[in-house]
Each structure stands twice: as structure tokens, then as C-alpha cells.
């Protein structure tokens, strides 16, 4: 009799729970929504592809040597300047050479190899400063939001000043003025770009984190944690951090292409990465002289920038929709 009652109770519970459909965790649910988003999926594939190309353009680690790039990107060939990509042959171009699939630039360097090496710089630019920005922004923002006080006041004052500049303007000033110092010359100008991007962007992340922490800090579950005697550190890491993670992930997803864009603009203006190191921005800058006669040395890196930035935007948009289904922007 007891067993019958128990099973009946279970059956009843099951009936009553029809409304509660299959329960997935928030993160799995978000992941499911992300991969159902076709644009985001395409974006992920492109990012994966570009990363592989960047890594294996010239991979020499653990005794394995893989080299996808057909030439040294800095190799100058006197008699092979301004070759056009091989497909232009079908449109009547006589200046093609099967050895240079994407053609060559005004110094006779192989464009394909240069594009491949450029992707390395872009990825490094996308990863390193964003990591710095996120770490600093999180630490400062959480401290300011959680404890308030002097840190908070200072952060808000700094933000006011930084917000009076357009980001890019600020980066340009920093990079331009410090360009001829040891810092500016380190790693062909890469380091100063890291610094410029980091100095300008950590403030935005810190302010976002601070706002999020403030909005979560007084919610019931944090009160509850405090009531059972959790330490501030535990409250921050176990209760507040997971709840502000979603907007931070979305911000990071958009910060990566933002950093890449900054590098390409700086290099295009001639104050970014120092030639001859190839980046897409540098290639456009160098090729612009011959643009009206031979457009390919400019068009090809321009296409690469566009595709990679679009891929990141698709993923960013997808992430935002997935993590916050209410905001459809």
C-alpha cells in the first residue's frame, strides 16, 4: 500500500511538473543558444581558421616544424614586384606568377606569406591587451563596487577624464608621443600599442564591473551569504562574480576586435607596428602609394581585416543574445 502511494505521489508530481520543461543550466542553455545562431557559428569557424593559420604560419616547437607560409614575409625579390594574384589572369592580367598565389607587393614580397604573418600580430594584439584590461578592470571595478570609498571616488574621477576623450584619440596621443622611447621601440612597436590600449580601456571595464557589482551587491542572495557569515572574499568570488560574468564576457568578446581595430588604424596612420614587420594595417599603409594602379596589396589585407572583425562581431552578438535573451540589439 505504501509503495502504491509513493508511486502515485511521484506520478502526481510528474503531472504537476509539466510546466517545468527540461531544465538546463544557465551556461549550457546559453551555449546551446550560441551554437544555434548561424552567424555566430560561422564567426567561430573563421576565428578558428585564422588562429590555425597564425599558429602554423611558421610553427617550430617541440621539434615539430610546420610552415604554411610559402615564403619569408620579409624576403625582397627585385624582379617580382607588384605581381597580381593568379586569378586576375582570367581577366587578362599579364603580371601573374603561379609562385605568388596572391601576388607580390611593391618590394616583391609575397602577399600571401605577409597576410599569414599579419594574422599572428592581430591575434596577439587581440589577446594580450584584452587580458591586461580585463584583469585590471575586474580587480579595480570589484574593489570599487564592493568596498566603495576612496578607490571608488578615484575610479569615478579617472573615468570622467577618460570619457572626455574618444578612446582612439587617447591611444593615438599615447602611442605618438612615446613612439621614440625605448618603450615605443620595443618589439617593433607592439609593446607601446599594448600599453596604449590597456591604459585607455581598463577604465571602461572597471566602470562596467563596478556598476554590475553595485546592482548585485544588495540582492537577497548576497544578503543571505553575508547573513550566514561568508567572508567578503568568498562573497565576491562565489556570489557576486558568477552573477556579473555574462556582461563581462560580452564586453571581452567586443574588446578583442576593438583592440585589433586599434592596431590596424595606428599602423595605417604610420604610428603603429614598425615596418617591415607585416600587419594588415602596415600592408595597407605601404600599399596605398600604388593603390590606384595595383590595388591588390591594399585590397587583400582590407578584406582580411573585414572578415576577421566581422567574425568577432558575429560571435559577440551571438554571445550577447545567448547570455541575455531579453536584449536583442
Amino acid at each position: 500500500m505504501a509503495t502504491t502511494a509513493a508511486t502515485q505521489q511521484q506520478a502526481r508530481a510528474a503531472e504537476l511538473n509539466v510546466l517545468a520543461r527540461t531544465q538546463r543550466s544557465l551556461w549550457r542553455d546559453a551555449w546551446y543558444r550560441l551554437i544555434r545562431n548561424r552567424a555566430a557559428l560561422v564567426g567561430l569557424f573563421i576565428i578558428g581558421f585564422v588562429s590555425l593559420v597564425a599558429i602554423f604560419a611558421d610553427f617550430n616547437l617541440f621539434g615539430i616544424h610546420i610552415r604554411l607560409a610559402p615564403y619569408d614575409p620579409l624576403l625582397i625579390k627585385q624582379n617580382n614586384q607588384l605581381m597580381e594574384p593568379i586569378w586576375t589572369r582570367f581577366f587578362g592580367s599579364k603580371f601573374t606568377d603561379p609562385a605568388y598565389i596572391f601576388g607580390s607587393d611593391e618590394l616583391g614580397r609575397d602577399i600571401l606569406s605577409r597576410l599569414m604573418y599579419s594574422s599572428r600580430v592581430s591575434l596577439v594584439i587581440g589577446v594580450v591587451p584584452v587580458t591586461i584590461v580585463t584583469t585590471v578592470g575586474l580587480l579595480v571595478g570589484m574593489t570599487a563596487g564592493f568596498f566603495g570609498g576612496a578607490v571608488d571616488d578615484l575610479l569615478m574621477r579617472i573615468t570622467d577624464v577618460v570619457y572626455a576623450f574618444p578612446d582612439l584619440l587617447f591611444v593615438i596621443i599615447i602611442v605618438a608621443t612615446l613612439r621614440n622611447t625605448a618603450l615605443g621601440e620595443a618589439y617593433d612597436g607592439l609593446l607601446i600599442i599594448f600599453v596604449g590600449i590597456a591604459v585607455v580601456n581598463w577604465v571602461g571595464v572597471a566602470r562596467l564591473v563596478r556598476g554590475q557589482v553595485l546592482s548585485v551587491k544588495n540582492r537577497e542572495f548576497v544578503e543571505a551569504a553575508r547573513a550566514i557569515g561568508a567572508t567578503p572574499g568568498r562573497i565576491m568570488t562565489k556570489h557576486i562574480f558568477p552573477n556579473i560574468l555574462a556582461p563581462i564576457i560580452v564586453t571581452i568578446a567586443f574588446a578583442v576586435p576593438g583592440a585589433m581595430l586599434t592596431e590596424s588604424v595606428l599602423s595605417f596612420l604610420g604610428i603603429g607596428i614598425r615596418p617591415p614587420t607585416p600587419t594588415w594595417g602596415v600592408m595597407i599603409n605601404e600599399g596605398f602609394v600604388v593603390f590606384s594602379t595595383t590595388p591588390w596589396p591594399v585590397l587583400l589585407p582590407a578584406i582580411c581585416i573585414s572578415v576577421v572583425l566581422l567574425a568577432f562581431t558575429f560571435v559577440g552578438d551571438g554571445l550577447r543574445d545567448a547570455l541575455d535573451p531579453r536584449s536583442k540589439m
Binding site: Q9, E15, L16, V18
Partner: protein, 372 residues
């Protein structure tokens, strides 16, 4: 029989969502005579608001769609009209008062603009006439110093005052029917009674029929002549107000009555919630919609859906949708009143039910309370 003001027949409104088709209103029929008042009662998600919105064709399409049925208002089928004809009815012949006066008024337009809009549109008033009428209407609904406040914005009014504005707006074109969808739910308890009185008195004065939609049986008690109880997209019981309170014939209605707090209760009574959740309207139960939550269910309830039919031991126009209280059912003689508010009595009834003749099966195992 006199010509009815409103005749709804077999109305089906569905929402086409990613998870499936939601049968929000599933075969609802009722009538309303001119000047008559009707209450539609049910818990959230039972389809009562969707019914009201369907009457004015205000269902958002897509995802919603009125799939079947007819809504004959004043001799013409609203569902067969073109968009212009429907607009000619909205605000003019049928007006609606919405639940939340905080969000139902446009924050960036003045009160005067929002009321005179309909006057200019339907009654072809010019600006100054409409303004004059607007002030009169605001006076009528009891806005103090209406003349001064007419150019204020909604955020300058309190919730109760805004709902008065909504009532003024609904009355503006002297409609034949007002649909009031939970008009007091968002308001303070003290304000609720005022607003209900105002609505009742003005409707009587203007000879306007109204349908009051609410989840609270206590609200409709003094307000309407008749009450329809809805559950899971269907009407499950229809009766005159007095009859429904005196002689309810559907276990769901019993549940609703049991969950009204009563001041005249002598014993230390507990309020008894209806256990469980309303049915999933994407895949509703095949039999009676209330069966999964019903204490009195039998196998037949699960297998076949009962019709809305006249009930023995009740007034002639009292109908219910329940196998138990229908002719020959096992609940015909059950006295629902015994249960109100007293758990000991409930235990008695449970034993009683368990011993009822044909199916001595313990169908009354208390369900596990579902987490809210």
C-alpha cells in the same frame, strides 16, 4: 429572446511559439445583454485576458491568432470586419481598461492629449471641444482640480489617479461595452474599493455593459450580475453571482472560494491554496483540464472531457463542466461548504470521498507541493 449586445461563440485563440501552439482560449462561448455586467474569474494564464483582447482584436499577430469562432457585437461579427471597421469599434463602442495604470499610459504625452485623442477621432470633436470634454470626464472620475491637472504627464499622478484617468479614457466616447482587465490588481487595497465603486457607478450611470476580468472572486462579488469561471482556456462554470457563491458546482470554483480570506470565519481557519500549477496549454490534459489538481477525480476525468451543461440541484442557467457534479455524478450531493477553511473537515471529506460507492480508490493522496 432579446437581441444580445455581445455573442461569443466557440472562440479559439492560439499563440504559435517555438515550443508549440499555446491554446490560450479554447472554445469559449458566452453572451452579454446591453447594460449587463459580467465577471470572468480565473487564475493567471487561464485565458481570461486573452479572451478580452480577442474581443477587440488586440491579440498581437504573430504570434497570436484567432483561429476559430465568432464574436458578434451589436449584430456584426468583429472577426469578419476589416481593420478600419475594427478601429471604428475600438475606443468608440468597446473600450478597455488595463491592469497596470503605471505602464498603460504613455509617459511622454499629457493626460489631455491621451484622452482627447479618442474624442477627436471617434466623435469628430475639434481641439477645444475635446479639451473641454476631457476636463469634464476627469471631474467625473474624481480627479481634483481637473482643469489644472489636465496638462500634467502620467508620472505626476499616483497609481489610483492614473486608473481613474484610464476609466475616463474608457468612458470618453460613451461605449456600449467596457472591458476591465484586472483594473485594481496593481493598486493598493485601500484604493481598489474606490476604483471598483467608481467603475460600477459610472457604468450604471452611462448604461454601459461591462466585463470585469479578475483572478479574485472577492472582487466580482458585489460588482457583476453574472460570473463565468475560466480554467485552462475554457469556461468551467457559469452562474448568476449569488448562485455561484451559494451553490458552486465545480471543484475548481470550490478551490477559489476556499482561498478567499474571510473575516467572518470563527475558527482559526487556514487558507487553502489549490495545489499544483495550471495546465500546460501547449499540451493540455486530454480529459478535464482541472483533473491533475482535483481532489475528487476519477478515472473518467482523465479519459474524457466533460461538457459545460446544466447541473442538477441548481438554478436553470447554472452550468458547470464537471463529471462529478453532473447528473449521476459522485459529487452531486457533496456539501462543498463543509470544507471551507477547516483542515479537520477536509480530512472528513477525504475519508468520505474514499468510501464513496462505485470506485473506492484512494484518489485523494495529497500531491507533493510544487516548488514555486
Amino acid at each position: 429572446m432579446a437581441q444580445q449586445l455581445l455573442e461569443v461563440k466557440d472562440l479559439h485563440t492560439q499563440f504559435f511559439t517555438r515550443d508549440g501552439v499555446v491554446h490560450a482560449v479554447d472554445g469559449v462561448s458566452f453572451e452579454l445583454a446591453a447594460g449587463e455586467t459580467l465577471g470572468i474569474v480565473g487564475e493567471s494564464g487561464c485565458g481570461k485576458s486573452v479572451t478580452a483582447l480577442s474581443l477587440m482584436r488586440l491579440i498581437p499577430i504573430p504570434p497570436g491568432k484567432i483561429v476559430k469562432g465568432s464574436i458578434v457585437f451589436d449584430g456584426a461579427d468583429v472577426l469578419k470586419m476589416d481593420d478600419d471597421e475594427v478601429r471604428g469599434i475600438r475606443g468608440n463602442n468597446i473600450a478597455m481598461i488595463f491592469q497596470d495604470p503605471m505602464t498603460s499610459l504613455n509617459p511622454v504625452l499629457t493626460i489631455s492629449r491621451q484622452i482627447s485623442e479618442a474624442l477627436e477621432l471617434h466623435l469628430k470633436m475639434d481641439k477645444s471641444e475635446a479639451r473641454k470634454r476631457t476636463i469634464e470626464l476627469l471631474d467625473l472620475v474624481g480627479i481634483p482640480s481637473a482643469k489644472k491637472r489636465v496638462d500634467d504627464y502620467p508620472h505626476q499622478f499616483s497609481g489610483g489617479m492614473r486608473q481613474r484617468v484610464m476609466i475616463a479614457m474608457a468612458l470618453s466616447c460613451n461605449p456600449k461595452l467596457i472591458l476591465a482587465d484586472e483594473p485594481t490588481t496593481a493598486l493598493d487595497v485601500t484604493i481598489q474599493a474606490q476604483i471598483l465603486d467608481l467603475l460600477k457607478n459610472l457604468a450604471r450611470e452611462f448604461r454601459t455593459a461591462f466585463i470585469l476580468i479578475t483572478h479574485d472572486l472577492g472582487v466580482v462579488a458585489g460588482m457583476t450580475q453574472r460570473i463565468h469561471v475560466m480554467y485552462g482556456g475554457k469556461i468551467v462554470e457559469k452562474a448568476d453571482t449569488g448562485e455561484l457563491f451559494a451553490n458552486p458546482k465545480m471543484p475548481y470554483t470550490w478551490g477559489l472560494l476556499r482561498s478567499i480570506p474571510r473575516l467572518d470565519e470563527r475558527r482559526k481557519a487556514k487558507l487553502l491554496p489549490i495545489e499544483g500549477l495550471p495546465p500546460d496549454l501547449i499540451a493540455p490534459p486530454p480529459g478535464c483540464r482541472f483533473e491533475p489538481r482535483c481532489q475528487y477525480r476519477r478515472d473518467v476525468c482523465r479519459e474524457k472531457e466533460p461538457e459545460l451543461v446544466h447541473i442538477p440541484n441548481a438554478k436553470p442557467d447554472h452550468e458547470a463542466r464537471c463529471w462529478g457534479t453532473q447528473e449521476g455524478g459522485w459529487l452531486v450531493d457533496t456539501d462543498w461548504r463543509k470544507e471551507v477553511g477547516d483542515t479537520r473537515v477536509i480530512e472528513e471529506i477525504k475519508q468520505e470521498v474514499a468510501q464513496l460507492p462505485p470506485e473506492p480508490k484512494p484518489g485523494d493522496v495529497p500531491p507533493s507541493p510544487t516548488a514555486i
